[in-house]
Subunit: 409 residues, 2 copies
């Protein structure tokens, strides 16, 4: 089976957004052994969209579209598919009820436009959208299979996982099983070096690294006649990788570094509090992404001004005066201060020069101190991070989480 | 003139990398008024690549390719273009000298493969590559224009800027000017309702709305013989939109809601401090995205636990006991508490049920209170927000920023 991915949206053609859906879908299809020969991006224009469908179905058995399911007149994906397959658009009552309920519940004004989202081509099946109002749909006819998914990645990806994957599994006789190892503390090229012989020799399971910001995921995928056999193929390879990477593997599957840290804290019955300067609350916000964090997170102080460092964390004004707000000494007092004033078991602090201004020869943009106070001791690390303000801050958060994780090992 | 972007590389079809080049090139072409009707991704396969060229030139005047200029047998972009245009591949001596010099300088071993990079289709012109060994090239024939650029973004983008842009400027007689209006406080479909007649009647300038999370951008683009004329075409349309949308327009061009809020605060000489519960620091982190925020942001407290609300913000324990941590009363005391304890002019608080757990019939997931204390008064708004934990929190931050902005008008 081979597939084509068609992203629909003028905003992609104007360069307003990046087509990350195509990457996700391509990777997932590759894991299933489905070849993607082309990805296409087309705008919100009926004629060009119809042409794209025709070309795609001449060269692929299956088409997956993303985008164009919204409520406005510009959203034409389903309507054009109906035209391509010679179908009427019909109202799906269940979808309409869900959409109406959504607007009622949230006291939003529902316009006639919104009803359009409940229409699908006759004969199509609904793909439910647990994350938004636009349902997706699937049409299968004359050996042609088409899935239409929403554009926002946070709706597209869950719909693919929950509705498209099961349909595709039905259509292949092999079973594919994946294990994803989550890695922090080493970069992608270093990781590839450590596993080079294994990556070069890979056949079944395949080994695919994906770099995220300051982290790497390693996906092992095996195909076999059944899931147990596939798992057995993966197990020794995973064991060897654990042996080589050791503590750099922080988890498996759907988790995050922040969630892992929060879970370790909860498991150990430890509480935490953070004092953030340049990151401005990003570290704490990451921890709060994980709902269970309330058991461990007492509070955080975003001590952006020196006065805040002094009044909230009892940092000594002379320390700031003598060594600067971005210094090992201030980082230490911030970590010890937040620990003491919050009563948490662990105090974490971050202070750095995020830029673009404020850098000096001695303390350049990208210089960051992270300190962890715990059990009467304070550990401090410093980093010289590349990139702009946003990159420095994002990377700092990853490094801080990895630092906390390793302290807790 | 209209263009198609073709990215060549199996790694894109496997989902190993994201096609960021397409975004960059599309945006640059849009700025020049060159329409991109399609983006295509195709693998390192001669037949499929040739087909992609044929299809592209049937629907576009100009094709820009990225990738496939490397030294290996898999790299086929130029060779296939030569086939498409019925040309021989010939050696470019100057390029060969540059490549040979590069290998000598870095003491790398040069293989015969590397010489392949110095070959271009007969009649093509070289586009120099200051960042790597692979030169690009340009072919113009029978009204068809083709640019071939390298795949790595750090080579592709500088080559586009230094070699392709000047060629394109030579070829267009119209100037395109855009104004982007940034809008918060109304949704995309509501906005389209308010501007429906204008959007339906659009020709020059064009009016294009793009929904972001809880915000909308509206891009007005006009073409004319010169920039002044284009601006004159946009002005009355923009004025009419301002008249209809009023305070919902918060800014123009490259700005964000957080930056707008921070800039207003700095301009008015006001200081701010935030008390965040369910958002966990996201509001403050957004403000800190903007480097100039140090002039206005004193501090924030992520008062995730009740103890923190009491000890850091002097919230009355009885208020939490009687009304709950998520209540109008607690939100009020949090905002007043952070204002008082920080000494800021404005105190902002957020408390809500972000989910997935913790919701009740009376206080469901998505219920959020935002309070602003200022000038001895405290304004409070409550929202019932849809979506999962992450969406509730992200939307809350946008609503909080919009609330602050309107308070400052």
């Amino acid at each position: 089976m081979n597939a084509e991915i068609i992203a629909v949206g003028t905003e992609l053609l104007l360069g307003d957004i990046v087509n990350t859906n195509a990457q996700y879908l391509s990777r997932e299809l590759a894991n299933l052994g489905i070849s993607v020969f082309y990805q296409t991006v087309v705008g919100d224009n009926e004629k060009r969209l119809l042409d794209a469908y025709k070309i795609a179905f001449e060269r692929a058995d299956m088409v997956i579209t993303t985008g164009g399911l919204g409520p406005t007149e510009d959203d034409l994906t389903k309507e054009t598919a109906a035209k391509y397959f010679n179908k009427q658009m019909i109202q799906d009552d269940e979808s309409l009820a869900i959409i109406t309920g959504f607007f009622k519940k949230h006291n939003f004004v529902m316009t006639n436009n919104n009803k359009k989202q409940a229409f699908i081509p006759e004969g199509a099946s609904i793909l439910p959208n647990p994350k938004g109002t636009a349902p997706g749909c699937m049409i299968e006819e004359n050996g042609k299979l088409m899935f239409m998914l929403p554009g926002p990645p946070n709706e597209c990806i869950p719909m693919f996982d929950s509705s498209v994957l099961p349909e595709l599994h039905k259509r292949t006789d092999k079973v594919f099983v994946s294990r994803v190892l989550q890695i922090s503390g080493i970069g992608e090229s270093h990781l590839e070096d450590m596993l080079k012989d294994m990556i070069d020799a890979q056949t079944n399971p395949t080994i695919a690294p994906y770099a995220k910001f300051g982290e790497v995921s390693l996906r092992l995928t095996a195909s076999a006649d059944n899931a147990d056999e596939a798992k057995k193929l993966i197990a020794p390879v995973a064991d060897e990788i654990y042996k080589r990477l050791g503590d750099n593997v922080y988890g498996e599957g759907e988790t995050s570094l922040a969630q892992t840290v929060a879970e370790i804290l909860v498991k150990k019955g430890l509480t935490i509090a953070c004092a953030e300067s340049c990151t401005g609350g990003m570290l704490t916000a990451k921890l709060v992404d994980f709902a269970g964090v309330s058991k461990t997170l007492i509070e955080s102080v975003v001590c952006y001004s020196n006065e805040s460092k002094i009044s909230r964390l009892s940092v000594n004004p002379e320390t700031i005066h003598d060594f600067g707000a971005v210094s090992e000494e201030t980082a230490r007092e911030m970590a010890e201060g937040i620990k003491l004033t919050s009563g948490a078991d662990i105090g974490v602090s971050i202070t750095g020069v995020a830029g673009p201004d404020g850098g000096t020869e001695e303390k350049p943009v990208g210089l960051v101190y992270i300190a962890i106070a715990r059990n009467g001791k304070t550990e401090i690390k410093s980093f010289n991070l590349p990139g702009d303000r946003q990159r420095v801050r994002t990377r700092t958060v990853v490094y801080a989480l990895d630092f906390i994780r390793r302290e807790l090992l």
